[in-house]
Amino acid sequence: MFRYISHRLLVMIPTLLAVSALVFIIIQLPPGTFLDSLIAELESQGEAADPNQIEALRAEYGLDKSQIEQYFTWLFGMLQGDFGFSFEHKRPVSELIGERLVLTFVVTFSTILFIWVVSFAIGTYVATRQYSVADNVATFLGYLGLATPNFLLALILLYLANQWFDLSIGGIMDDEFRNQPWTMAKAVSVLQHLWIPVIVIGTSGTAGMIRRLRANLLDELQKQYVVTGRAKGLHPRKLLWKYPLRVSLNPFIADIGSILPDVISGSAIVAVVLNLDITGRMLLEALRSQDVFLSGSFLMILSLFVVIGTLLSDLALAALDPRIRFTGGTTR
């Protein structure tokens, strides 16, 4: 097990390095730099940009160095917890993104919990009643949930809440707590607002998970040992809980690696629609205004979330499933 963990940790390093290089290339792709748009803005206001001042700014932001040098400065900075400087907000990136990342983590984590709880309940229920009304309804809703993009679902919910209850459901906390230090009241406010984004982001993941759990459980229920158990008069509930259900719960852990990117993707766009103070809107604005260190740090940390989440799920799977532990590889 120790060898497995250390192997996985070692593999993570080149992956993250490649991710950081890719992020850096992508955020540098747009022609020009933030400074160019700043100069253009100054000129449009009728102020001639002072060449000396521009040179000073260029040097301050390290824009006069080569791309490769800039990349390594950025990379080593990040390793020390310095994510660079946001041109647009004129503050260090780490100050800006700290709370947003905490909230992103909270939303992501709650969404995954939501997916687990709901799909466990519904999946088990419908698998034991194959082709019943409930099963067909759940299957249909599942298809609908998979087909409805979450930002449209958010829009629909916003509209319905506005029309029927005259209620504004946007935001991740009440306005008075924004940019305030964390207190009990603030945490409560976040919890009160959390359920809407969690449902919106979690729907498609839940639908997918229900399908997988149902299929797995149906496969398992047809196996000989279940028939034997039933034949010898085991109580149906015990027969279900003892083995088939436990075996078919594998995707709950194994699929984190594929669900996590989806959830984080979903939270990015839902945040824009629901006006949440998580990564979404700030990332969008940073991308638009070429605030490279801000957008780059967001992309980097979101990927880090995914990589670490996948690692944890693989480790959990190895701990839970001896088939994987002993062969030392993943089944995926």
Binding site: A18, L146, Q163, L283, L299, L302
Partner: protein
Amino acid sequence: MKDDGVEEPVPHYVSREPFDPDDEVALTPEQEKYYMAGQWRLMWWKLRRHKVAVVAGIFLLLLYLIAVFAEFVAPYELQHRNSRTLFAPPQAVHLFHEGKFVGPFTYRYKSRFDLENAQWIHTPDTRRVDRVRFLCSGGYKGSEYKFWGLIKGDVHLFCPAGGRATIYLLGTDRLGRDVFSRIIHGSRISLSIGLIGIILSFVLGIAIGGVAGFYGGWVDNIIQRIIEVLKSFPRLPLWMALGAAMPVKWSPILAYFGITLVLALLDWPGLARAVRSKLLALREEDFAVAANLMGASTKRVIGRHLVPSFASHLIASASLAIPEMILAETALSFLGLGLRSPITSWGVLLNEAQNIEVVALYPWLMAPMIPVILTVLAFNFLGDGLRDAADPYS
């Protein structure tokens, strides 16, 4: 029986019936048809039994037909504006006027500007009946079009009565443009982007996955790592970054291909993985080994034996990947990072519905989400059917 104990031989008997040595193993015509059918025919039979998938397929075919003949189906031209009817709500199509049957018609809108709320108010004038015309040619503003930008015409599937009569099935937007017509026109971009994207992603996926699966060793290793890196990105933020990297000044055509390329760039890893694992598995199968031993070249083994045997799986997974691309384009355009007006896709139309204040007043601006959801749903149903049918021997 005789006394001397010698048995008399059994009389020799020959049946006069014609004898067919294959009779024992002969098949009924039905069985024959089944056993002799090729792989694709079997798949078609299996798919045909999947009623939902068939319905979804027909629905999609219809959608694509509409997209091809968008100018004919939509009553108005894409950019036609009517400054009299800004933000007009959907017009109901009635059949009975004052208890009498007159066929499909609309009541004309009486519009006035409410100065207090700074808002247009459109009320149907129940005295003015505008009959809907079918397969009609022109006679109103916004009826002239250039079919695919080439052939001039003004024939429509249905159109308003003419003059100042209007038919806004799904209302109008802030410039007085017919939302229904714009959705129809937008389907051309939205539906084709999935197809072109999947073709690009297919080419990339098959080429890269093929190389990895065929050469193995360090090539395979490197490609696997690249795929892993790409998979560890949350897709949408990366798409957003790539979308933002596209210059705003690009011409519509360039922007269109740019966005399909961006979509395909993150989609191929899944396909490449599928191709690789299939190649690795099938390479060891008896029929591949047999072909090899009989002296078939590698190219022939791959092209003639391996690819056809997993092509069906690829088609199934492609039909499940197309809706993802359509959704991604919609999401990007919705955020303003994908396509921009004057190119019109469903996502670009939904961009107008981004603000809840606008949506609360003019909910019909959300209408473009209906075709998005229906299309994705249909592709998912079809894809599920295809996936089941892809293994006709199971």
